[in-house]
Symmetry: C2
Subunit: 368 residues, 2 copies
């Protein structure tokens, strides 16, 4: 900066710059930049063009007065195009006398452009992201001070744009990855269900039952999704159990039982290190534990068993009892209810059984 | 801002503020802030304390002169503690006459603190992230202008800190999720291998072979990892194929063949929507295609089959031929080589076979 700038202008720059830096939403940021341009150099209108490097074009949707229209300009063409190509500002005192000026925007909006100050959006590292232009300064032409102010402002805007773009891209990638992961897990669960159960969607159904019970037990709302996922994935480790054991109609031999009982450990291993599944993983690991300590793989008892797994145990047994199996017909609700009461305190956490009993039979009919 | 500030100071503020906004690495940012503090108010030293809300403490590792030591101060205690608690700056003209000043830092460093200007790091939304303090102004006490300058600087620093923290956290979460996903996929592959193959680690071995061949074919380096992953996951869809079909020693019936041949489609579905596996997924889908169009599921031919899948086909057959199977012994390298040559142009892409032939037998001994 070589020319003097008024203190007021510098303060505006600091204030506006801070607002830009704090804005991570791209659309709101572009809007802030547009409004900043007119404020910093006291102009009537502003526009912003972003560089599309792949196509060698500038584009915008946010020129004031041209809302909703996308304009594309080849880099090098016109005033904005020249600024993007050279990286140097242009200060035009009479637009209609400048051969580079295109009247088409004015023609379609009825606006009359007189003066233009156009500067590059350049990052600290010297990358050009686009250009901003201020139109029609309120009093006379744009000054040398305006040039410096708008250059400094454009520098702040470029950093903010770069940050917001990076942040938005990373956020999008992260959300997509989470969705993909869920897709893969869902597909695994569906494949497992198809392999093991005559009645499909066992895992989906048990997950819904578990969630319903969890709400009646009073589990905090922020844990609901993880408990649902844990219930959904409970048998994921069965990928490693052969059909001959998994689908055997009669009782398993002691050797077969050993193989069968590896599945909670294997499932736990498969989901290890996944932060957003840390609670779900505990349910997978503990879904075969029993309240009185006679379950597996760790023979946990009582409160040692994660609450989600204790709730799951009730939901899983309930679903099993109320559906046909190769070796027996489905039980009635009344019979299942009697069994639940009988096993409260031994197989099941009394709290989870109580939650089950508090839900009327009609409601279960919707879920089972 | 109510007091006059010199243009030079305001310009420094704009310049330093922009450097802060551009820095996304947390450690480098903290260092920039420390250096900014001394520069903006012409002080000898600076320190920065971050607020640990959970513990109600301020902490730092980066007070100048105390490198490597972590200091913790309860919010409310001492000068920094008071500024954090009230959100209002303190300007101390004689540290040793102020009862809130703690001499312990001076005692351990041999430094002599005279003047202190301490201001809160407050975001635009009014959140206090910590405090910064400037020690020992070069000429006389800190002025009202210094107070305003340091407050404005702290505002810029707070926004930059908030951005860098958010960005770093998101980046870490994303990296962890990618690793977790890979862990899950690896566990699935290992479980599948354990189920199907007498010789374990078939998928791992074929993935290494495919990668080796891909390098000889001249696949671009940036595609190597995806091709490796595709080869690793090629049979992931077999989760949905029952053992009775998957492990049947003799030939399959037409009905069984239909089930068996669903596995490339199923695998493709399981990995759908995963951006970083988009090329891998194509290999999973096409790994049973043959060069002459007689494969499945889509009967693709020639260049219609993704290159990675054409390379994989050679690696997979090679691995199968050179290892024992329940129904036959492993073939010698020479026999496998003859078979490869025979099937070049029908089952296999001649380019992939050529790559195989160009690798000396001794090298294969390491891989098979």
């Amino acid at each position: 900066m070589t020319v003097g700038m008024a203190q007021d202008s510098l303060r505006t720059l600091i204030e506006v710059g801070q607002a830009l830096a704090a804005e991570r939403d791209l659309d709101r940021l572009l809007d802030l930049i547009l409004r900043g341009v007119t404020r910093v150099v006291q102009a009537d209108r502003s526009s912003l063009f972003l560089l599309d490097e792949a196509r060698g074009e500038l584009w915008t949707k946010i020129a004031q007065g041209l809302e909703g229209q996308e304009i594309r300009i080849p880099v090098g063409a016109g005033i904005a195009g020249e600024v993007a190509a050279t990286g140097r500002l242009l200060n035009i005192a009479e637009a209609y006398k400048d051969s580079r000026f295109s009247r088409s925007a004015d023609q379609s909006t009825g606006y009359r452009t007189r003066t233009i100050l156009c500067v590059p959006l350049q990052t600290a590292a010297g990358r050009t992201l686009g250009v901003v232009q201020a139109l029609n300064k309120f009093d006379g032409p744009f000054t040398r001070e305006d040039e410096e102010l708008l250059l400094a402002f454009a520098g702040q805007a470029a950093v903010a744009l770069e940050n917001a773009t990076l942040f938005t891209n990373l956020e999008t990638a992260h959300r997509e990855l989470q969705e993909s992961y869920q897709t893969t897990l869902d597909a695994m669960v569906a494949a497992l269900d198809a392999r093991e159960h005559e009645t499909q969607n066992h895992s989906q159904r048990v997950a819904r039952l578990t969630l319903h019970l969890a709400r009646h037990v009073g589990v905090p709302v922020e844990h609901e999704m993880e408990i649902f996922r844990g219930a959904l994935l409970h048998d994921v480790g069965k990928i490693g159990v052969p059909d001959a054991i998994l689908l055997k109609p009669g009782p398993l031999t002691p050797e077969e039982l050993v193989v069968m009982r590896t599945h909670p450990d294997l499932g736990y291993q498969m989901l290890k290190g996944i932060k957003f599944l840390s609670m779900a993983r505990e349910i997978v690991w503990s879904h075969q534990e029993k309240y009185d300590g006679t379950g597996y793989p760790r023979s946990l008892r009582g409160e040692e068993i994660p609450l989600g797994a204790r709730i799951f145990a009730v939901a899983d047994t309930l679903d099993a009892m109320t559906h046909d199996r190769p070796y027996r017909k489905a039980l009635s609700y009344a019979a299942a209810r009697a069994e639940m009461i009988k096993c409260s305190g031994t197989q099941f956490d009394p709290k989870a059984v109580e939650a089950f009993l508090s839900i009327p039979e009609e409601e279960w009919a919707q879920l089972l």
